[in-house]
């Protein structure tokens, strides 16, 4: 009887381990494959900060995907719980720099400062990582004094970037950002402006 119980317990533990561990190891969604496209962007001669707010808010409550840049507008993360820092999981959402690139409507060519409207479901990340934005890399981007930043400028450090949705009276900011797999894309109150690891970044040429 004891040996039967023992065998059952061992089997149960093994089965549970396989069931719990299996999906994590094999995690892969079909969100990008099933929903996203590679349509060319539409060049635009003029964009505004308010227009970029509209673009950004369509991504609010959507997911986060490392290296990603494609989302719908159903206010649900369609690929929750992706393994972090894995660009092959095929999930919904941008990462911090991909989200900024798309909201700032930039070109994939780093020498081009023009404006390009990317479709919400266009899977694109763009050529910049957060550290590039922080340094003002690329023709459209410049570093900017943090005290002078306004709506839809950004605060960036070597590992992250978020855009200013609205400054708060107390010196903090409401930041719209693709934060991470566990958080998705949303607006949070942050103290990035007062954090010395963050620099100010501006997308040039808009009003």
């Amino acid at each position: 009887m004891i040996s039967r119980l023992h065998a059952f317990a061992v089997s149960f533990v093994v089965a549970w381990g396989l069931a719990a561990g299996g999906p994590a190891a094999a995690y892969h969604t079909r969100f990008i494959a099933n929903n996203c496209n590679h349509t060319a962007p539409t060049p635009s001669s003029y964009i505004t900060r308010d227009g970029s707010v509209t673009v950004a808010l369509r991504a609010r409550h959507e997911g986060y995907q490392w290296g990603g840049g494609c989302w719908n507008d159903n206010n649900v993360d369609d690929s929750p719980g992706d393994p972090p820092e894995n660009g092959s999981t095929g999930g919904e959402g941008g990462d911090c720099s991909g989200f900024t690139f798309k909201v700032w409507r930039e070109s994939e060519n780093t020498s081009n400062a023009g404006f390009y409207q990317w479709g919400m479901l266009r899977h694109v990340h763009g050529p910049y990582v957060a550290a590039d934005f922080k340094a003002g890399s690329g023709a459209p981007n410049v570093t900017y004094a943090k005290s002078a930043l306004i709506r839809m400028d950004a605060l960036a450090r070597s590992t992250h970037i978020g855009m200013i949705y609205a400054p708060n009276p107390d010196g903090t900011d409401q930041i719209i950002e693709a934060k991470g797999e566990a958080y998705g894309t949303n607006i949070w109150t942050r103290t990035y402006r007062g954090d010395s690891s963050y620099s100010g970044v501006r997308r040039t040429g808009w009003s």
Partner: protein
Amino acid sequence: MTRLGGRHKTCLLLLLAVVGMSAPACDLNERTVPTTLMDGTPVREAPVELEGIDLPTVLTTVRVLREAGNRSGTASAACLNGRHRGLDAAGPSVERVGVSSESVTLRESSGRGIFGCDNSLGPREENRRWCGSVYGVLHSGRLRDPRLSIACQTRDATAMAFVWVEPGPRATYVVVEQPAHAEVYEVVAGSPVRVATTTGVEVEGSRASVDLREHAADGGLQKEYRLEAAVSG
């Protein structure tokens, strides 16, 4: 001695066949073996014959600096105090110069990550020292992502890809094949190797495929593989 591959033998034969004619048989402009590195240093070949490499080899230079952040005037200090102001570095930094690339790799004092700067001969805004910068989070001492950067360009504005490679324990050299030569990077200081290439870069997808080879100290091939990377984070 450098061995000639099939493609190069064919090229040579064609050239010999048309001696005296004005039109070259091969696109020599595309396939000129570099004579200097990006900083003007004359090219040296790899010190050993690398198994299976048919192209002429070009050995990149590498310099390891202790406490690099304190060494003003160095590329490491320029990277740390420019692009990555606000980060603290600890331990050695690794400075590399290739045919058309330059890189610095530093380790963060907190142990959370490694970071660095990339440079090329191509254009950039305001004549800045660096055209790309990068940070990679370490998980149990290793990167999950090779931290592709495609922000740098060649002199003629061709996109370049920079990635960190974490070679196997027995690897002494990491090799990236270019159209006319094989660029050879020495593995040093237990640090990931920042390699650069113009081959396999897909600007529209913000991706790159880098064909890599790892060789042992005697030149023996350890591993040959393709690294697929995407700009992320």
